[in-house]
Amino acid sequence: MPAIKPRPRSLAYAGLAYIVAAIFLLPYVEMVVSALRPANEMLDRTYVPTHWNWHNFVDIWTTDFGQSLRISLEVASGSTLLVLLAAIPAAYYTARYRFLGRTTFLLLVLVTQMFQPTAMLVGIYREFLSFGLIDSVIALILVNAGFNLAFAVWILNAYISAIPVELEEAASIDGASRVGTLFRIVLPLALPGIVTALIFTFINAWNEFIVALTLTTSPATEPLTVMLNSYIGQYQVDWSHLFAGSVIATFPVIILFALIEGKVVSGLTAGSIK
């Protein structure tokens, strides 16, 4: 007998779910509250300050923050661009042609998806040291692009495979070139996949910490994740700027992520469900 769900039950679920959701938001609420605490209330034992100080968001720009924000943007956009340039042709080729070693290639992509730069940190450090690329934005772009390429190829491969070949054949009968077909037919249809790969790579590069910590030594090349640590001094911590900076660095990313949330999961788990 298919029972009709009684209303009180769904309300109980809703209540429970809201509580759980609120718990997961709490640290970020505290982040905002602390960012708005005036300096003289920083050490108060209160949940919220008596005055709200928006000034932290203004005078943070007098510190190194702006510079690091620019570096984070450069690193994240640079690696995203690089990933898309490499991943789109790679995904197209593997989706459309059965070539020798195709399975090996896709398997390879999957394996690199599982690796993280942390496990190869010393290697990465030695490598870029020998290239003379310590303290350079290019090094960070290369590493971030390398480690996000796998996911991008994988998710784009799934999207392009789903586009019927007949569409491309029809286009070529109508006189479109190979490249024309790619730009006019395939890419627009794979757009959701491209956007997902784009945002995902951007966020990963934006949040990356350990490689940036290892490969940068001067404030001029530190992205935000590393730079914010400089507010934590040996004896004194500049909490207000630390949290104002965190808020600026965190919230845009959360919103971007909300836009692609469903697709990322299907991409990450595609390996097994396929």
Binding site: Y13, V20, M114, R126
Partner: protein, 276 residues
């Protein structure tokens, strides 16, 4: 031709990934196995290995259990479900560095908000004492950091399991209900087995992430006092700053473990492929 142009970055990446780690003698001249011997003789190493196992096991197991329950909850129909799900995204999308810093701040012995709340509840009598200094005591600090690790791992796991739950056809449930199965019986006999593929993938991705997790420990205690809250990952980083050869040896060990997990992953997915 495209294949060559496109393939090479990935191939080079993987190849150098192997080259740069394995011949650490090459990096340091003729060190041979000496770095591994040094590493093996580190007095802190046994504790670090034990702690790493506890770290990975505890965080992953608790994360997966919470995620199972939460996926079930967020799979129910209720008003505002979409908004509630969005809230889960925050810890997943936000930089772990910043999440860890907020927790460190909230645990501050003198005025951290967690201490303020515990004080108001009567659970933490005096500010600024040892009892309030959660991150100053290795065992307690490690427990708090595991909590943070669970906190940042649960959202992804929940989403992965939700995707798995949604792939289960409703007819299967209806059939079971017609056969007279109760809610709990349906969960054990139908939901869990059908959720297996999503569960295994989420589990392995978590093992990988948690094993390689660096920012939480780094931001909250730097692995200290001493090495008493270090895992192999943070220890590797600390070694890098003075003994790069030994750090490379630690990396090789870490890398071998990661490789092992990848093999298990590939095996698990191919087993599924054959079963399907």
């Amino acid at each position: 031709m495209i294949a060559v142009v496109v393939l090479w970055p990935v191939v080079i990446m993987v190849r150098t990934a192997f080259q740069k780690i394995s011949p650490d003698g090459f990096i340091l001249g003729q060190a041979g196995w000496r770095n591994f011997v040094f590493l093996w003789q580190e007095p802190a190493l046994p504790g670090i290995l034990v702690r790493t196992s506890i770290w990975v096991l505890t965080v992953v197991v608790i994360t997966m259990l919470i995620a199972l329950a939460m996926a079930q909850l967020f799979n129910q129909e209720f008003p505002g479900r979409r908004v509630a799900r969005w809230a889960l995204i925050a810890p997943w999308a936000a930089s772990v560095v910043m999440t860890a810093i907020v927790f460190r701040w909230s645990l501050n012995a003198d005025n951290g908000i967690i201490n303020v709340a515990l004080h108001d509840l009567g659970l933490m009598p005096v500010y600024g004492t040892d009892a309030a200094d959660w991150l100053g005591r290795p065992v307690v600090a490690f427990a708090w950091m595991m909590l943070v690790a669970i906190f940042v791992s649960v959202p992804f796991s929940t989403y992965a399991l939700l995707a798995g739950l949604q792939a289960i056809p409703t007819e299967t449930y209806e059939a079971a209900r017609i056969d007279g199965a109760g809610a709990w019986r349906i969960y054990i006999a139908i939901t869990l087995p059908l959720l297996r593929p999503a569960f295994i993938v989420a589990l392995l991705i978590n093992v990988m992430n948690v094993f390689n997790s660096f920012p939480i420990i780094w931001e909250m205690t730097r692995g200290g006092p001493g090495h008493q809250t270090s895992t192999t990952t943070t220890f590797m980083y600390q070694l890098k700053q003075s003994y790069i050869g030994e750090s490379a040896a630690m990396s090789v060990v870490n890398f071998a473990l990661v490789l092992l997990i990848v093999l298990v992953y590939l095996r698990a997915t191919s087993v599924q492929g054959r079963a399907a």
